[in-house]
């Protein structure tokens, strides 16, 4: 099992990577949806952490794509936006856990 981080902010992405590796997990980072799609598709037991606001293809687009996989992996959406902005973006998508930034480390370690 691995954690895939799709996040355009280098600081957030790198710190998440370090944090997860510190927990003994295997983790990978992608600066945008496009590079995530270019990599091998995730395994069913993987977890994907995706920022909702990405340049190019949106985080919601990534979530929809993942949910259409035969065995969808777990998806955690992260966002630093307001609740209303988040709801607007994930309208029509169900079964997604959402974490608002700043992320609390307890919350992440509980979830992952």
């Amino acid at each position: 099992m691995a954690v895939h981080i799709v996040e355009d902010d280098p600081g957030v992405s790198d710190s998440l990577l370090m944090f997860l590796q510190g927990m003994g997990l295997v983790a990978y980072t992608y600066p945008d949806a496009e590079s995530f799609f270019e990599a091998d598709p995730p395994q069913p037991d993987d977890t994907i952490i995706v920022d909702l606001l990405l340049p190019g293809i949106s985080g919601a687009g990534v979530i929809r794509w993942l949910q259409e996989l035969k065995e969808p992996p777990r998806v955690i959406a992260i966002s630093a936006q307001s609740q209303s902005a988040i709801e607007k973006q994930i309208r029509g998508i169900s079964g997604v856990e959402i974490l608002r930034k700043p992320l609390s480390s307890e919350l992440i370690s509980q979830i992952v």
């Binding site: 902010d9 600081g11 957030v12 790198d14 710190s15 998440l16 370090m18 944090f19 590796q21 510190g22 927990m23 606001l53 340049p55 630093a80 936006q81 307001s82 902005a85 930034k101 700043p102 992320l103 609390s104 480390s105 992440i108």
Partner: protein, 420 residues
């Protein structure tokens, strides 16, 4: 009391021995003159070639606090601050010998001195007349304190309004800026957590891989600096402070505005900069110019909302004696209907904001002796705004230095002009 305000004796006009047989008509005209002088709102003084006061009207009494008895026949120096008083006789001698006019017929702003020692700004106009008793000089003096006070109030109100517009712009950017701050805060939290975890898991209290540990802390510090940078940028922009013009690098001011705008904005549009090389320094209030550019950039990005191929171009250039900062987008251009009222206050076509941005931006530009104009575009062209600022020689270190040799002047009035 008819002649009370006139000096008696040989140097005085009007009542001299030669006019002992003055006709009734001349005494009528003297009375009329007296009444004119005492009715005048401005202080009126007449002095002779020796700088002795010959006429001192009622307005003078009020303005300077001396009675006519105390002043008539005495040197005009008594109503001047010490620095002028010492030089005045020299000026007069200089004029008598060279005929070179520094103030006569020109008028200027000078300081006067009240009996109680208070110095205050006045506007002084000086005329000259030949009389049988030699040359005489007429001074008309207007108290500038009410006008100065009014100017100060206007400046203060304008500065408040301009500041309010900045705060309002920052308010509109607030949500995006909060988002921008959340990023480094998230990173700091995770880095520190990772560091702390690596310590906790190290066997027998021996820290594992100190290099990695140090690296993580350094990254956390870097993110903290990034958060601090965002805060200081915001603070600099909204902090209330007096308008201040100084020589600055215009490109750096524009770049700072671009950075600030991008912080407070989530956009897909591309930002294109084209800065002229080797621009001379611009003498401006950098925060106010930044305010104009932020306003123009935000409008441009707003025009590109919902477009995938949007580009905002900002450029600086030199055209003749002016700097030009241009902001243009490749949006639809401005609807012709809104162009006539575009720079008027409260005429916003946007959903948010007060509609003050462009009106205040133009006022700032004009206070800098420049202007803000628009080419509305349309038919496939986006709008293009041009901020034009005059190229001004960088002032000397001593700002109050007057080019004129006569020191009886306050600093150039442009320094105290309407500023916001």
């Amino acid at each position: 009391m008819v002649a009370a305000r006139f000096a008696r004796g040989s140097s005085g006009p009007g009542m001299g021995e030669a006019e002992q047989h003055a006709s009734a008509s001349s005494s009528v005209s003297a009375a009329r003159l007296e009444s004119v002088l005492d009715t005048a709102v401005d202080a009126i003084l007449v002095i002779n070639e020796k700088a002795q006061i010959l006429v001192y009207n009622r307005a003078c009494e009020k303005l300077f606090g001396y009675s006519p008895q105390e002043t008539l026949g005495r040197n005009i120096r008594m109503i001047m601050p010490a620095d002028y008083a010492g030089a005045h006789d020299g000026y007069m001698t200089n004029y008598m010998t060279t005929g070179h006019r520094k103030i006569i017929g020109i008028g200027r702003e000078v300081r006067a001195r009240h009996r109680d020692g208070t110095e205050f700004p006045v506007e002084l106009s000086v005329g000259e007349t030949e009389t049988p008793e030699g040359r005489q000089f007429i001074g008309i003096i207007r108290d500038l304190r009410p006008r100065k006070e009014q100017e100060r109030r206007v400046n203060e109100l304008q500065a408040d309004l301009v500041h309010m517009a900045r705060v309002s712009a920052m308010d509109e950017m607030g949500a995006a800026l909060a988002h921008e701050l959340n990023q480094p805060l998230t990173a700091i939290m995770l880095y520190l957590q990772a560091a702390s975890r690596s310590l906790a898991r190290s066997p027998n209290g021996v820290p594992a891989a100190p290099d990695v540990f140090r690296q993580v802390l350094e990254k956390a510090v870097h993110e903290a600096e990034r958060a601090g940078g965002i805060i200081s940028r915001m603070r600099q922009f909204v902090e209330k402070r007096d308008p201040q013009r100084r020589a600055v690098d215009l490109n750096a001011v524009v770049e700072e505005a671009v950075e600030l705008t991008l912080l407070g904005l989530r956009t897909n549009a591309r930002m294109d900069r084209s800065f002229a090389a080797a621009l001379p320094p611009a003498v401006v209030d950098p925060i106010q110019i930044q305010q104009i550019v932020v306003n123009l950039l935000r409008n441009a990005f707003e025009a590109l909302r919902d477009r995938q191929d949007g580009i905002v171009r900002v450029s600086t250039s030199r055209q003749g004696d002016s700097f030009v900062v241009a902001v243009e987008d490749n949006g639809p251009g401005l609807p012709p209907g809104i162009v006539p009222t575009l720079f008027k206050a409260f005429s916003s076509s946007k959903r948010s904001g007060m509609g003050l941005g462009l009106s205040i931006s133009r006022a700032i530009a004009q206070n800098h002796a420049g202007d803000l104009t628009v080419d509305p575009g349309g038919n496939g062209r986006g709008a293009r705004f041009e901020l034009r600022l005059p190229m001004i020689a960088v002032p000397e270190a001593d700002e109050g230095d007057d080019v004129d040799t006569m020191p009886a002047a306050t600093p150039p009035s442009s320094a105290s002009g309407v500023d916001a």
